[in-house]
Every structure is written in structure tokens, then in C-alpha cells.
């Protein structure tokens, strides 16, 4: 009887273990399949085509070129490898300036014909029109519409997912924004966190420690939106004033808020690691004539280095994945940051802000999932590298002798 019960308990435990792993794997698979659907999309918006005059030798344009053409930053075909003719941009709504309503027909049923005429008449034209208006004997030529390419996404310098006719899905500004904010956050948090950890574990009296530790742990429980609020009300205006900026919502504000949020993790984990340093080890050092500080940095810190690293990494993990607080204080401009005193936008903030307005299954939606994949890979790389580092430094220097 007893054994049957044990078997049942064992079975339940095994099941729950399996179910958890399977769930995680499914989530990852879901993330990846949704994300890589992006590369099945065409560069131009779905259901639309780009048409040029039949004599125009240009066969295709990249997404960036299309955007620049329609933003009128490129105004001559010679800039994209064509003849020296000025580019004339034509959108469907422009058709009324060429034809009267009667000519177009009541239900736009003659629009196809009219578009064909316009395209044939203007050698420099580029027309962005619904595919359904393109008739069989269309006199112009359609530009080849490529799938969105890997390099356009991962090396693209512009994130403009709602641009027409060609949305821009360049990840570079978002990835850079994330890395910048996290990097500066860790830059601020590391020295502070480590000094507080050393103070608490080595210097502070047990009474001070008994007071400080719960306070710092309390910081961990504050919802991130509250940190964001604090950042918006206190840090943002302060930065604006101190650096004399037009806006205070900058990467720096995000870094500071993130640093504050990462502090409790760094402090508690590395403090615990240092306190785990055996008394015998400290006594051995002191007995050799080392001072208190020599003992701290030559024995206690090396001994607890793997614990300290994991604290730091947990802190970085929190910084990279943090959404709400960053969304509130960084200004969210998707541009490649050149200084930390500019508005920038991080990956999680982008996903949070845009997923609601991206139509499910569309290119924008899939691009956001791909951002999620990138974020996932970044954190995974960090975790693996840390495990590697701590396994290297920890080799033979394990806790137990």
C-alpha cells in the first residue's frame, strides 16, 4: 500500500516536471514560428503594388529606398540606378486631380484604366495602388516585390512599422537602445550595489544590517510602474534641468531608474554570497597579519565571486527585460542613440507599446514577435556566458573544500 502511494506521488512529480518543460518549449516554439513569419511578408503593404512607367529600367527598390522615395528624400531616378528623370509620386487618392469623377466611374470601376493612362503618360512616375486596379493590359510595369530580407531587419537603421507603402522594420535602433540603457544602468548599479553589499556583510553592525536588509528587500517588491512614476516625476525633470535639455525623457533617465531597480537584486544576492564566506577563511587571513580590508578584497570577494556575478547578472536580466518603467521615462524615440542624453526606445517598451495596435498576423505583429525572440536570445546569451565564467573561475574553488 505504502509503495503504491509512493509510486503515485512519484508519478505526479514526474508529470508536473514534464508539463512545465513542455509548456516552456511550446512557448518558445510559438514565439519563434510567429516571429519568423515576418520573412514571408512582402516589402510593400499587402494588397498593394508599386508600378512604374514601362520605359523605366528600374526593376526593384529596397524597403528603405521606397520609403525615401515616398518621403521625397529621393527625387530623381538616377539616385536608385535609373535614368535622370525626376520622380513623380502617385498615390491612389491623387487620381482625382487627373480625372473627373465621371471618367473614373461611379464605383471607381474605371480607375484601373485611368491609372494605366497616368502611368503611361508620365515617364518618372511611381504609383502606389491597390493590386485589384491593375488590369491585364496594364501599360506600365510592376516593381518586383521581394520578401522582407534578414539584413533589412537586423541591419535596418529605421523602425517605422506603420510607414506606407513600405513599413520599416530595422531592429538596430531598438537593440542599441536596449543595450545602451542596460549598459549604463549596470554601470551605475554595480559600484553602488557592490559597495552596499560589502558594507552590509563586512562593516555594518548586526543591528544596522537588521534594519537595512529588510528595507532593501522591500525595494524589490515595489511594482515597476511605481518606479516609472517616480522616474517621470523626479528624475526626468532633474535631468532636464541639470543637463539643460529640451526634454528630460532620455536614456539616462531610464538607466537611472533601472539601476535603482536592479540594486536590490545585486545587493541581496552578493551580500548573501559574501556572508557565506566561512569564518575559518576570514580568520586564516587575519591570522596571517592581513587587515580587515585586505581580507575583504583578497579572500571574501574572490571566494564569493560566483555569487556576486550571479547577482550582477540577475540585475542585468532585470534591466534588459524591464518594460514599464523604461517605457515611461525614456521618451521612446526609435532612433539610434549617439549619446545617453537622447530619447531612445528599448525592445520591451516597443513590444508593450505597439502590440496592441498591430493587427494580429500582420507584418508589424510578426516583427514584434521577432523582437521578442531577439530579447530572448540576448538574455540567453548573457545567462550562458555567466554560467561559463562562473564555472571557469569556480573550477576547483567550489564552496566545499
Amino acid at each position: 500500500m505504502k509503495q503504491v502511494w509512493e509510486k503515485i506521488v512519484e508519478g505526479i512529480l514526474t508529470c508536473s516536471g514534464f508539463i512545465t518543460s513542455i509548456t516552456i518549449v511550446l512557448i518558445v516554439i510559438f514565439l519563434f514560428t510567429e516571429a519568423f513569419g515576418l520573412f514571408g511578408n512582402k516589402v510593400t503593404e499587402e494588397g498593394y503594388v508599386l508600378a512604374v512607367n514601362g520605359k523605366n529600367p528600374v526593376r526593384e527598390l529596397s524597403a528603405v529606398q521606397i520609403k525615401d522615395v515616398f518621403d521625397e528624400e529621393i527625387t530623381n531616378w538616377s539616385e536608385v540606378g535609373g535614368p535622370d528623370i525626376g520622380i513623380k509620386v502617385f498615390r491612389l487618392e491623387d487620381i482625382t486631380s487627373y480625372f473627373s469623377e465621371e471618367e473614373l466611374g461611379a464605383e471607381y470601376d474605371k480607375a484601373g484604366e485611368c491609372i494605366g493612362k497616368v502611368v503611361a503618360d508620365h515617364p518618372g512616375i511611381i504609383a502606389f495602388v491597390p493590386a485589384k486596379f491593375i488590369e491585364k493590359d496594364f501599360p506600365g510595369r510592376l516593381l518586383k516585390d521581394e520578401h522582407i530580407s534578414f539584413s533589412e531587419v537586423f541591419a535596418g537603421k529605421e523602425w517605422f512599422p506603420t510607414a506606407t507603402p513600405a513599413p520599416q522594420f530595422g531592429f538596430v535602433p531598438l537593440v542599441m537602445g536596449t543595450l545602451w540603457v542596460s549598459f549604463f544602468a549596470i554601470l551605475f548599479a554595480l559600484p553602488f550595489g557592490l559597495s552596499v553589499a560589502v558594507y552590509m556583510s563586512e562593516v555594518a553592525s548586526s543591528r544596522t544590517r537588521g534594519f537595512l536588509k529588510p528595507v532593501i528587500e522591500l525595494l524589490n517588491g515595489i511594482p515597476s510602474v511605481v518606479y516609472g512614476f517616480f522616474g517621470l516625476i523626479v528624475i526626468v525633470p532633474l535631468i532636464q534641468k541639470v543637463f539643460d535639455l529640451p526634454v528630460g525623457e532620455t536614456g539616462l533617465a531610464g538607466s537611472i531608474v533601472l539601476a535603482i531597480m536592479a540594486l536590490p537584486t545585486i545587493i541581496t544576492v552578493s551580500e548573501d554570497a559574501m556572508r557565506n564566506c566561512p569564518r575559518a577563511m576570514r580568520e586564516a587571513s587575519l591570522a596571517l597579519g592581513a587587515t580587515h580590508w585586505q581580507t575583504i578584497y583578497k579572500v571574501v570577494i574572490p571566494f564569493s565571486i560566483s555569487g556576486i556575478t550571479s547577482g550582477v547578472v540577475l540585475g542585468i536580466g532585470r534591466a534588459i527585460g524591464e518594460t514599464m518603467a523604461v517605457l515611461m521615462v525614456t521618451g521612446n524615440a526609435a532612433v539610434i542613440p549617439t549619446t545617453i542624453l537622447e530619447p531612445l526606445r528599448t525592445i520591451p517598451a516597443t513590444i508593450a507599446a505597439e502590440l496592441g495596435e498591430a493587427p494580429a498576423g500582420g507584418a508589424h505583429y510578426e516583427a514584434l514577435f521577432l523582437l521578442g525572440v531577439v530579447l530572448f536570445l540576448i538574455t540567453m546569451i548573457i545567462n550562458f556566458s555567466v554560467e561559463y565564467i562562473s564555472s571557469k573561475t569556480g573550477a576547483g574553488f567550489g564552496r566545499k573544500s
Partner: protein, 250 residues
């Protein structure tokens, strides 16, 4: 002049009196063993000689302890300088999470020795002195944790010797070791007494009889008897000592 001279030492952990009016003189280059049942204060007394008890909050000392004629609890005494002169080996081997070489070099480095040639020379010398050199000379760069318990303890002895102390305190140095490693450590103590004044705390009475010149018997925070080892083990003057060494209690 005696190497160590303790006069009327009383020691308290908060309200608890751990040591009661102990006076003892230890000669230079002698080996003195402290024996007694657990909790009798022998380790506490030993740890007074390098002020290790300073680390314990609420600890308080009355009386005087002189080493080389200097009161080590005087305000002018630098604790780290004192500890350089009075080395200590602990009950459990406690090497640092560093290489074998760096473990021995540690004391020199924290005391400001920069000359790498000297450090290398000194490490070799002390590892030879601790009878460990032949076993580790090819793996000095490896972690000290890779050594066996007995080797680790001899490494700790080498580490203590590296800063050239004149006194070595040993707090049950062989209690965590197997008999063969214990024999090696005892052999080492015989060698070391040519150069060092050694105070050793031990639970093992045969060990005390084997290695020491003089033995002190502690009981309940008092020093019951302190005399030549031979006399203590053959003809003790106090009945309590007699009972303890014959195994009637403790």
C-alpha cells in the same frame, strides 16, 4: 626571559567567564600542549595570544599577556603586526580559494612584499619546511582544494610559516585528519620546534605526550596543572589531572 608570559588572565564572553585567573610562562622554542575536556577554555586561551578573540563582540579581557616582553593588548600594538609574529593553524584545514602557490604567498603579499623572486624562494622554502614540497612542486598553480585534507593542513602550516613568525599557535591541528596525516603533522611539529615556539591545543592525550615539552591541563576555565609533559603523564600532582589522563572523565 620567557617568550610568552600570561599574568592573571580573566576572560569573559559577555557575562560568562571563560577563563579564570590563569598565569603561565612559556619558554622560547618550547612545545606546550593544552589539554582538557571540551569547553574548558583551552582554545579561548590560545586565541588570546594572537588576539583572535578581538573579533568576538562582547568579549573582554582582564590581566596581561606579554610576548617578548611587550603587552600585546597595549594600545600601541598593531594587531596585524602581532599576528604576523604569532602564526596560527586552525582545527580544520582552511586554505584560500586560490592556487597552492598563492596560498603560501598570501601572507607575504598582504604584508607588502613585492619582490616576486623572494616570494618564490620563500614559498619553496616553507613548503619544504612543511614536508609538502615533493608532493606539490609540479602543481603549484592548481587549486589548493584539490589537495587531500592532510596535505591541506600542511599547506596551512606552510602558509603560517611563510611570514616568519616566532610563535605558532595550533588549534587541534590534527583532529580532522586520518592517522597517517596526523603522524606527518606530528613529525613536522618535531621539526618546527627547532625554530618556533609552539603552543598546541589537542584532544588527543597521546599526541600531547608525543609532541610537547610541557603540558597544561585546563578544566572549567581554570588551569589545573602546568608542568613538564613527562610529569603530567606519569605523576601528576592534582587528582583531577590524574583522573583526566587516565580517562576517568572528559
Amino acid at each position: 626571559m620567557n617568550k610568552i608570559d600570561a599574568q592573571h588572565v580573566n576572560f569573559f564572553y559577555g557575562d560568562f567567564q571563560a577563563l579564570k585567573d590563569i598565569s603561565m610562562a612559556i619558554e622560547e622554542k618550547a612545545v606546550v600542549a593544552f589539554i582538557g575536556p571540551s569547553g574548558c577554555g583551552k582554545s579561548t586561551f590560545l586565541r588570546l595570544f594572537n588576539r583572535m578573540n578581538d573579533l568576538i563582540p562582547g568579549a573582554r579581557l582582564e590581566g596581561k599577556i606579554q610576548i617578548d616582553g611587550v603587552n600585546i593588548y597595549d594600545k600601541s600594538v598593531q594587531v596585524d603586526e602581532l599576528r604576523k609574529n604569532v602564526g596560527m593553524v586552525f582545527q580544520r584545514p582552511n586554505p584560500f580559494p586560490k592556487s597552492i602557490f598563492e596560498n603560501v604567498a598570501y601572507g607575504l603579499r598582504v604584508n607588502g612584499v613585492k619582490d616576486n623572486e623572494f616570494i618564490r624562494h620563500r614559498v619553496e622554502e616553507t613548503l619544504k619546511g612543511a614536508a609538502l614540497w615533493d608532493e606539490v612542486k609540479n602543481k603549484l598553480k592548481e587549486s589548493a582544494f584539490a589537495l587531500s585534507g592532510g596535505q591541506q593542513q600542511r599547506l596551512c602550516i606552510a602558509r603560517a610559516m611563510a611570514v616568519s613568525p616566532s610563535v605558532l599557535l595550533m588549534d587541534e591541528p590534527a583532529s580532522a585528519l586520518d592517522p597517517i596525516s596526523t603522524a606527518k603533522v606530528e613529525e613536522l611539529i618535531h621539526e618546527l620546534k627547532k625554530e618556533y615556539t609552539i603552543v598546541i591545543v589537542t584532544h588527543n592525550m597521546q599526541q600531547a605526550a608525543r609532541v610537547s615539552d610541557k603540558t597544561a591541563f585546563f578544566y572549567m576555565g581554570s588551569m589545573v596543572e602546568y608542568d613538564d609533559t613527562k610529569k603530567i603523564f606519569t605523576n601528576p600532582s592534582k587528582e583531577a589531572t590524574q583522573n583526566y589522563i587516565t580517562g576517568r572523565f572528559g
